[in-house]
Symmetry: C2
Subunit: 231 residues, 2 copies
């Protein structure tokens, strides 16, 4: 789900540079400079800037230029912003924020899923829990990561809340990130795996409290590990 065309490529350059703080808050860019620097036309620059404006990362003002807005105004829930920040110097802060968010949302989502999940959801969840166990035992980190992402995304989706469901990709990005940057044990912990199965079982049998509790234990563990790794 990328922005297409030249504006997209411009965004892929500008976004990360701004997100990483390389172009600091308050800096002012000129449209014409961007045209030259990237060898594209006004049209392209303007459209890219409009998108950044849509995520409130910049504001364009006459006679002034394109100002980089303070981070506190950015749409920190925008998937692109999250990706950019995860990829750059802001990664630790972003991971911490997302950790707290998961802490709040995922247990609640698990509880809701125990009530609202469809039969298909429950079936899929069970089988995912099994596959997760297998790929964890066989120590295939990439496959495991895929299953882990799918598992958490499914719980969020099965909660029946569209906003929770949308955090699936975000959580996926976190899990990918912490694997890529080696912020997790080289082998998934058996205890964590067991908890995933517990979540699945609780949701399948409609036990909201159990599901919530088990999920809370999972994300608490992840958050603690993260804090330990980041100091």
């Amino acid at each position: 789900m990328e922005i297409q065309g030249l504006p997209g490529r411009l965004l892929d350059e500008l976004g990360p540079t701004i997100a990483s703080g390389e172009i600091p808050e308050g800096a002012v860019l000129r449209g014409e400079d961007l045209e030259e620097r990237f060898g594209v036309s006004r049209t392209v620059v303007r459209e890219a800037v409009r998108i950044l404006e849509g995520m409130r990362m910049v504001a364009s003002r006459r006679r002034v230029g394109i100002t980089v807005l303070p981070k506190s105004l950015w749409d920190v829930f925008d998937p692109m912003v999250i990706r950019w920040r995860l990829a750059g110097a802001d990664r630790p802060a972003q991971l911490r924020s997302l950790g707290s968010l998961r802490m709040a949302v995922e247990p609640a989502a698990a509880a809701l899923a125990a009530v609202h999940a469809t039969n298909d959801d429950r079936r899929e969840l069970s089988s995912l829990a099994v596959e997760l166990t297998v790929s964890a035992r066989e120590a295939d980190l990439t496959t495991f990561l895929g299953h882990d992402i799918a598992f958490h995304a499914l719980v969020l989706r099965a909660s029946g809340n569209e906003m929770f469901a949308h955090l699936g990709d975000t959580v996926g990005a976190v899990l990918t990130g912490r694997t890529e940057y080696h912020l997790m044990p080289h082998q998934p912990e058996p205890y964590a795996i067991r908890l995933h199965r517990e979540v699945a079982d609780a949701i399948c049998s409609g036990h909201a409290d159990e599901a919530e509790q088990a999920m809370r234990t999972i994300v608490t563990g992840a958050l603690e590990e993260l804090n330990q790794q980041l100091g």
Copy 2:
């Protein structure tokens, strides 16, 4: 924080019509039609469409046109999208989603705030709690609403988590919405007011659990009331 200029006005027309489902998922618009319909130039239409594309509400493809994407792909955390949905036919669903989200986030934020709030935060929180009590007793709904919004926003901000902080505006929109649409009692309930003071006191004295619990009671009450009103 609005998008400026003609593209902004175009968005204010297009966004709500799409958000309300008046232009349904899968519908195809032509750039040229939009130019004529709104009497603006290509440039303006393209920039507006780019922004909608940025929130994943539409996708523009050559030789096809501008297609409205399924709701499940929209950036449901984008403040504009939330506003548009709250204003239109999607209001009940949007309120419900936001209710669950508050349920998950606000208690967690209160707990974090008890640990991370600055001294200024704590002072401001105390005085807000007092003002809230006063304006509730004097039954000035508008003033009360303002204080209520400020209170919840402050707790979210004081949590020290940028993502929570950003939900302040969203929660504000919910509170405004339910007042505007008369989805709440004509007089704030004394019990709810007392809970707000409890939250403030707990945060000020660093009692995370109490703060979390009291906040949970507040949002639970709000959610139940909402469900009752919406059937």
